[in-house]
Subunit: 260 residues, 2 copies
């Protein structure tokens, strides 16, 4: 395949030092759980409070602006993270500089799990927009009962990965894009937002790198969908008109619920 190099602000070969030393993190402001929108079921809160009962209010939230990395491949493992607001992509770099996007994370999602068993991160993560993340130190994690929520999260992660694998292995371009849009829709639904309008915080290139397609193929598939009238694309926003049609094109979706 050997596509040409295509990387943007998320490049992690040439490490940006543009704003001088000390500005690696755009904001050092640390926020407490009290001001977090993710109420109930926040794993970071659960685990951190469980870990240290003296803190009822956890203060480990940080604001990142677009393009800022949370961690990069090779960085020492320190924590796992929860998205509080905004969105994040995780990716791995191939030797040719090509990046494979592994996942997009939205508010409530936990990321950085691949680091749990290793001394450093394998993947990299970067904010796709102004984003707030909550840091959950890993120290002592192995000695504690982690609770069902933790196990659920792990199997959710595995399920998501399996879904992507299935998609990459078996679906054509239209099927992959349809699956992607449905997945995004389901996720924003969980956040209580309207399901029929998807705001894409990632570039077409990111989508292509996630779905294992060329950027041109993504563009053309979106056009085909739009021409058929099932949805409308305007810049980074997709309005879905015919959900059934999209589901049809997507084919098999692996859900967490046991219906099969």
């Amino acid at each position: 395949m050997a596509m040409q190099l295509r990387r943007a602000a998320t490049d992690n070969v040439i490490i940006p030092v543009s704003r001088g030393v000390g500005y690696a993190q755009p904001s050092l402001e640390v926020l407490s759980c009290n001001t977090c929108n993710i109420r109930g079921g926040c794993l970071a809160e659960q685990l951190t409070i469980a870990h240290d009962h003296s803190y009822q209010v956890v203060k480990n939230r940080k604001v990142l602006s677009k393009g800022n990395h949370i961690f990069r491949g090779g960085d020492d493992t320190k924590a796992i993270y929860v998205v509080s607001s905004g969105s994040v992509k995780s990716y791995m770099l191939m030797e040719d500089g090509e990046e494979q996007v592994l996942n997009f994370y939205m508010p409530g999602d936990v990321f950085g799990l691949d680091a749990m068993g290793s001394s450093c991160h394998i993947s990299s993560t970067v904010a796709l927009e102004t984003t707030t993340v909550c840091k959950l130190p890993l120290s002592g994690l192995q000695d504690r009962a982690l609770g069902q929520g933790f196990l659920n999260m792990i199997s959710e992660n595995l399920l998501r990965d399996h879904n992507l694998m299935l998609m990459l292995a078996r679906k054509d371009a239209d099927g992959r894009l349809a699956s992607f849009l449905i997945d995004m829709s389901k996720r924003i639904e969980k956040l209580g937002q309207p399901v029929d309008v998807i705001k894409l915080t990632m570039t077409r290139q990111d989508i292509a790198n996630y779905l294992g397609l060329a950027i041109e193929t993504v563009s053309r598939a979106l056009r085909r969908f739009q021409d058929s009238g099932m949805l409308e694309v305007t810049r980074r926003e997709v309005a879905i008109y015919d959900f059934n049609c999209l589901l049809n094109i997507a084919g098999t979706q692996v859900t967490g619920s046991c219906s099969s």
Copy 2:
């Protein structure tokens, strides 16, 4: 893509009841850890003993013959499993009957993790040959400190999945097959077996369903490799002559070690 239906003994739509009720498991023999070859670092042993200190000798091993399922998609979640001997494949069925192979498991490997957070299994698992598996009941798992070994295992699983995703998304047929062979070689190396002879316990169809290729493409890629002299294929056995060449074709491999 919509390839034609291709399923064999592992079909789980038509449930085989060939040998009559009561023979769902070919053997009810239960073996103890004392007779297990996997010494040291067996997670099943660790977790089970940790769970119930009164049993120093765990008796939960079972023998399965080729084609027998350990569990099927939709089955109630009861346990996670460790391969003691033999080999296992896990797969998910698509609506068109197509199966996507998720992984092949070898002695020491843990499988069934996707069930941890769910009330039933999403994937199915089947023995590829005469296989011994160790069952690890899930009950009470969430209330216990699971140890670093458990966390390691989870991140290993995630890493393996990410590797496959990267492969499916970015590599051509030759790259995928080369990656597959290298991975198999590394895994048998861990088991203390020679790295240059790989015994394939799965069919070409299974490999194709794992790599997201047509069976013919797998066959042709193997022929190309053989013609170039880097390896030799005889039935279900691959003798590797030029490992560097294979690594070259495979391209990026994601390893657990932090070298990047």
